[in-house]
Symmetry: C2
Subunit: 232 residues, 2 copies
């Protein structure tokens, strides 16, 4: 049947609205998977950056002991890096929760619906094949065989066609329900996750404020020629 | 001479104070090279993280178009990531300046002094070898040869010893000057660089404040069930 369709020799059963919703869902899965992949990379680089900041804090603390004349400078830098690295844990927790929820959404929830879509496609192919068998038989009429034999074959073809039509329609209904649930579920889950992602990101990239401002203040006391340099 | 010293068969010329300063300088070079390596890794991960944030901003902006019911959530996240990625450029510039200055310090300034130290070590070895030749000759006295031949050899040994002593002393003075300059230079350069590193880091990790707070505000208007979720 798929070959006939490909050759344009037969007409496939079409539900344009449903097909469009299926295509949209496939497109969304692709985009969410891409978002998941980017978020994973972001989390990984963020994590490695934080590890480096902890190591920097340690190395600078050691140098503060070895370079008496740079003790204040190394100490302030060490403290700042330590503060930033510590506050990273909250963002890491949020990112890991985001990733695991996105994984479930992409690889289980959406995938489950698309598995039903593949069963539906298969049922649609079978139904169309039996439908075409029946049409051919009806077109041929009883030519070249006995009337009872023809009636038998016609009856069987009608029966098959009906069975696969029911199966097809059942799966079509299933998908419509699943797609509606998926829409609701996806929007609900992502609303929460995007809020979490946003708030945790903003908190980290702006919220180290108090601790870092204290560090800046301390630094300006420690080094008198401080602020002017940055203005260059 | 090095072999004799290793076997404990001869005494080396020692300047304990200078030796200690040389060892300190070698130790500092090692520590600064380690700091440079960590800073390079930090810069690299930071840069990759920022690239991912730009990509996330784009992907989320696309999804804002494809998911009408999540438009606000995706838009706010996209804006926040874009803001953070943009402000990263200032920190990147500061980090690259820090790295290039640290490279010059470790691989040129300190290395140049340590090259003189190696010439000094070589001259010290040569001087000690000629000094030992002379001592052996003086101990043997004229035994087994004519007096004029012995005088000739003694004169030559004294001359060599004196020549290499001058060379050794010249290099020792050179090093003392170089180490003093290196100390001044290193402290001056690092004072500036550490201030730059600190201020740029603090500015980035706390200074996205205004833009991100605006984004947070916008988000709380967009999503009513917002803040409560994060409190869970």
């Amino acid at each position: 049947q798929a070959v006939y369709e490909h050759l344009g020799k037969t007409q496939r059963t079409l539900d344009p609205e449903l097909e469009q919703r299926i295509e949209q869902t496939k497109d969304l899965q692709k985009r969410y998977l891409q978002l998941l992949q980017l978020s994973r990379s972001f989390t990984s680089f963020f994590n490695q950056m934080t590890t480096m900041q902890s190591s920097l804090a340690e190395a600078m603390n050691d140098l503060a002991q070895k370079e008496p004349r740079l003790r204040d400078e190394f100490t302030c830098n060490s403290e700042a890096q330590k503060t930033i690295a510590q506050s990273a844990q909250t963002l890491m927790n949020a990112l890991n929760f985001f990733l695991s929820t996105m994984e479930t959404l992409c690889e289980k929830t959406i995938e489950d619906t698309l598995k039903t879509v593949r069963s539906y496609d298969q049922a649609r192919l079978q139904y169309d094949a039996y439908r075409m068998d029946l049409a051919v038989l009806q077109q041929q009429g009883g030519a070249g065989g006995s009337a009872s034999e023809f009636q038998g074959r016609l009856y069987e073809a009608e029966h098959n066609c009906q069975t696969y039509k029911s199966k097809y329609e059942q799966l079509r209904d299933d998908i419509q329900v699943k797609l509606r649930f998926l829409d609701e579920n996806r929007v609900k889950v992502m609303k929460k996750q995007l809020l979490l992602f946003h708030n945790a990101t903003c908190a980290y990239f702006s919220g180290n404020n108090t601790a870092l401002e204290a560090s800046l203040k301390q630094f300006h006391i420690a080094s008198n020629d401080g602020p002017s340099f940055l203005e260059q």
